[in-house]
Amino acid sequence: MASKTTDTAPNQHLLTIEGLSVSNITKLLDLADSYATHNRDIGTKQSLLSGCTQINLFFESSTRTRTSFELAGKRLGADTINMSVEGSAIKKGETLIDTAMTLNAMQPDVLVVRHPESGAAALLAQKVDCSVINAGDGTHAHPTQALLDALTIRRRKGQLQGLVVAICGDILNSRVARSNIQLLTTMGAQVRVIAPPTLLPASVDRLGVELHHDMRLGLNNCDIVMMLRLQTERMHGTFVPSVREYYHFYGLDYDKLSSAKSDALIMHPGPMNRGVEIDTAVADDIDRSLIREQVEMGVAVRMACLDLLTRESRTQDGKQ
């Protein structure tokens, strides 16, 4: 098993995008790209992670992310186990750290964690010997989502540098937005965030983005429009007055999209609220929407992450 004290410690976990260099990201994306091609062209299962154990530990409900990680592990030949909060010891009052220690004793190679509290993945990573992949912690980070978004964009536009990317919607409560802002600005894209002030975190401009409250101005001349989900409980007068008003000013329809470049592409991390943040016709526009491709790239990116993070432990195991 990999020890926390090895020189490769920085690469043992994937907890956030923050701190990753251009070459780190490029390496990950290159590898993911090759997996994407492999998945499309050959599609056969590999045995790279044969004998490795991957535990998907989900403290928050998720369909696409958990399935994507599970599929990624299985395609690489790992033994994947899903643990969800329902029916687990967590429900019986076990603390996060106790759960971590218990799982650690079972000696998995990778722990994929989703948790409703920011910082939970980092806390787990301090307590276990295996690699930890953050599959979303609170409103902090969702690094594999940012990587899959970047891969999707790169495959369509060739590169990230110089692109104008608008991220629209509930930035305040979005870990996807935070990770995307970090990744895209690191890679030299120009990032704009578009939202009413009630959905923007304080000092978000300090993250190197341009702020917009007017969606048409914010979309002006942009290459990529990234929509975020607005949760229904925030739509009735607390953060925004109503669905009707939100859709009127911040819902992506063809009219607002016309401010963007004519070949601008549309992304959404899902699940979508059609008629709230995005018009159905726009979401389903096969020429503009990358939403399905994002899901496909998700598997490739997660394969690349699993591959890279377990390289050290696999080498050591081989030596033993």
Binding site: P197, T198, G237, P241, S242, E245, H248, F249
Partner: protein, 445 residues
Amino acid sequence: MANNNSYEPQTLGEKRAFVNVRLVDPESGLDVLGSLLIFDGKIMDLGPRLFADGLPSDITTIDGGGHCLCPGLIDMRAFVGEPGAEHKETLSTASAAAAIGGITTLIATPDTDPTIDDVALVELLERSAQDTARVNVHPMAAITKGLRGVEMTEMGLLASAGAVAFTDGNVTISDALVMRRALAYASTFDLLIDHLPQENSLSAEGCTNEGEVATRLGLTGIPSVAESIVLDRDLRLTELTGSRLHASHLTTEMSISAVRNAKARDVRVTCSVTPHHFTLNETAIGEYRTFAKTWPPLRSESDRCALIDGLSDGTVDVISSGHTPQDQESKRLPFAQAATGISGLETMLPLALDLYHKGKLSLHTLLQKMTSTPARLLNLKSGRLISGAPADLILIDIDSPWLIDPDQFLSKSKNSPFEKHPVQGRVLQTLVAGQPVYDRTLQPT
């Protein structure tokens, strides 16, 4: 030269002119004897030499007798009764009262029944006003649904429908988070939030200013800090969110000082006071005169003087009537049970002019607070005496002395504490979009 001494609407192509008037534009400082030409509902031209080459023959002229011609007043806060309180006031009676008072634009508060918190109601009020009001009426919409202080209204859509600002009327938003989000959300569209600060938990039981008068009368008082606590909170939240706040109907020395300090920090705040708060103090309630029961209450003499200081040094931006018509039944009650408010449309200008006559404010500074400043805050084109502006005009005899007689009010409600109050200055004519809506003299040449 045609004579015109009726209210028949003129055709659009017809021109109308005031001659021999003192042209007073509060914003630019213009103050000159001259003429003003109206065409197509707008001011076409004005100046001392406008008709130097003689009057064209196709013009209806009105000799102003050297009196002041200035922009019609914009009252930023009036309760117009509709919908739901038609027994107290209607758009028709409120606008008739406004016309006599020199007010050509009424900003209606949304604390009606139902509350103006929905696009359809904004449109309804605008349509009713077009049908029945003599002056311009623009609605403010509610900040929170049903004035409950919990959920924001659809401010963006309401503004598109014609709401010129947002307020919960005399209801204070007690939850700081709701206020923060409302201010932040309003800033999306740079909308104005009008808020009357009052800490409900401190003021709910009270009916007059806390102090000696209340103590002698055995009435529960409302402390000055009830206003300060919420105002201070609002000022900090406005600073935090970078939004636009209009603190309405401030009454205390502490409040004026707080706004003065906030303005020095470049907080985007403006504020208003009412004529009754700078004209009367707490002693006006005398032996339980319910006509002097107001919301917020009349304060101490030093507070009253501080409001005037605030008006003169620019801390106070706006004078609004706070028009709150009440029927007799709601005032003929024991003091604590009686309704609050003053019927104020017909007395706003004469009471305000008192500050000019006493040398506290220049005429231009005073008029700015009822014309160009509210126009700027609400993005209205009126409030100026410049060519191209709407011909919403008033001709005032600023010196004429008279005694206020609430029985003569055109407002449906006569609840005024100013009976037999001596004032100086009277509206002679009021025009809205070039059309006369009130004429005291009917003296065309």
